[in-house]
Amino acid sequence: MANVESLRYFLPELLLTALVLAVFLVDLGLKRKKVPIATLMVVGLLVSLYAVLKTPGAEGVTLFLGMVSLDPFSVFFKVIFIVTAVLVTLFSMESDEVEEKNFGEYMGFIAATTLGAVLLASSNHMLMAFLTLELVSVPCYVLAGYISRSRRSSEASLKYVIFGAASSGLMVYGISLLFGVTGSLSFEGIRDALSAGNPGEIIVLISLIFILAGLGYKIAVFPFHMWCPDVYEGAPTPITAFLSVGPKAAGFAVLVRMLHVAFSSSDGAAAYLTDISSVDWPFLVAIISAATMTIGNLLAINQSNIKRLLAYSSIAHAGYLLMGVVALSQLGTQALLFYFVVYLLMNLGAFLVVLNFRSQTRSEQIGDYTGLAWRSPIGAFVAVSMAIFLFSLTGIPPFGGFIGKVYLFASIIQGERFIWLAIVAIANSVISLYYYARIIKVMFLRGIDAEDLGGFVSSPTTITLLTILAVGTAVSGIFWGPIARWVSHSASLFFG
């Protein structure tokens, strides 16, 4: 579709762009910023969410001469990103790590990252994918270092920018090789070139490895996960929560689209795709998936800082999520999308508890959570919701994480080729129970009779958000039908 025609399908992105500019402008004129700017963010994001849901063309159109594609898959991820940004805005109101005088720019960067993520999920061209990947990354580098005069925060930011810049450089080199052998930059063009001739196998392999390095860094998979624990620990807590869901989902969205559109084709059977690149990338991704979940879970065992533990847990979850990519089937993509819905609820919930605990006690150490359930009625409520999030992250019924894992395992077993990966994943779930249960043990079984633990309070906003997230996590494990229908509609486009 030509440029001018495309504009009416592009309203949500235009609204987000306007929001970014508005936040930076409003920031200039205000002394007390937190409430007005957060209100502007939430209203702007909800308006663009409404626009996403109301934009026509849900059956799949390509905009701007094939640069951007609008389809149920990208709409799904747009909803995920905008909901995440709304929740992170509310989290930031509850946090005291960012000074009020910096609050406007901070929110502007969150809005810019969301705009980048929305475009990344719908990009259908290597140039667009590269540029929007940078639009997601660059504001995140700044956000990680937002605690002023904090050694840990500026160190997190430095590590993030160095790893990020190097891996995006490798990715663009990989794209240049792929452009050399296929002569095309659009995903469909690459697919046609790969399935028509037999371009240099080694070159395609090298370029795939480089591209996976760039995207693998974004979603924090082995061996590009090293930045993740340091950045998650040093960044402000709302930003840690944001990084673990928003940019990660964006990386997965473009990874799935790139591998499913450019490197696979449908061979008649509607529910499966076949790898056409003469390079066995599903095997490569399966190895990465197994290594990622194992490394993430093993390293999480010994952590004493809860943000660091959740960072390793999010690495392990990236490994589980890659199973949905490896399956290369409609069920696999559905499982991936389903898991993202649940992961958003439970992971943001866990980070909200960490944030609340930090603002009360100035501590991120797991040992300091001792007897949280017995300090006050609100402490008990917070501890119970944390237990729900952690059980769901482990994948214990009846919570949403269990259904998500069942779908992922089912997709791998249905594919028949990588049964061993499902076995590795089940073993990993058992390991993860150990370190998640350790936190629950500290909160409930320790310090029952202790006298001087101190009280624990939460603001009404925190309690409301925790209730919503905990109920969402629990309900998605019991009535998952509506979510399953939504994701199966969103996942269907690559297949048949």
Partner: protein, 101 residues
């Protein structure tokens, strides 16, 4: 007449030098220069391919974007290095070990 291979080989050499710089330098600004080398190797590849193989403007447009992006990324990275310098009084990346303790 210089052939496509020459450009690709120079691109590969630039890439290797860039990766070596990123891995071996202690100075954060030096690491950043290694990243610039990697980005430029990709840019060179794009221009060469679009000149010799695929006679379209796509590759050259991509290179322009790489140059713009390298500039903006360097601006952000230098800002971050400056804030790191203010807290650590150093630009050596290996001093950054206050996390994971």
């Amino acid at each position: 007449m210089i052939s496509l291979q020459t450009y690709l080989i120079i691109g590969a050499i630039l890439l290797v030098l860039g990766i070596y710089t990123v891995v071996s330098r202690r100075n954060a600004v030096g690491i950043l220069m290694g990243v610039e080398l990697i980005l430029n190797s990709a840019g060179l590849n794009f221009v060469a391919v679009s000149r010799f193989v695929e006679l379209s403007i796509d590759g050259q447009v991509f290179t322009i974007f790489i140059i713009v992006l390298a500039a903006s990324e360097a601006a952000v990275a230098l800002g971050i290095i400056l804030s790191y310098f203010q807290t650590y009084a150093s630009v050596y990346a290996d001093r950054a070990d206050s996390l994971r303790r």
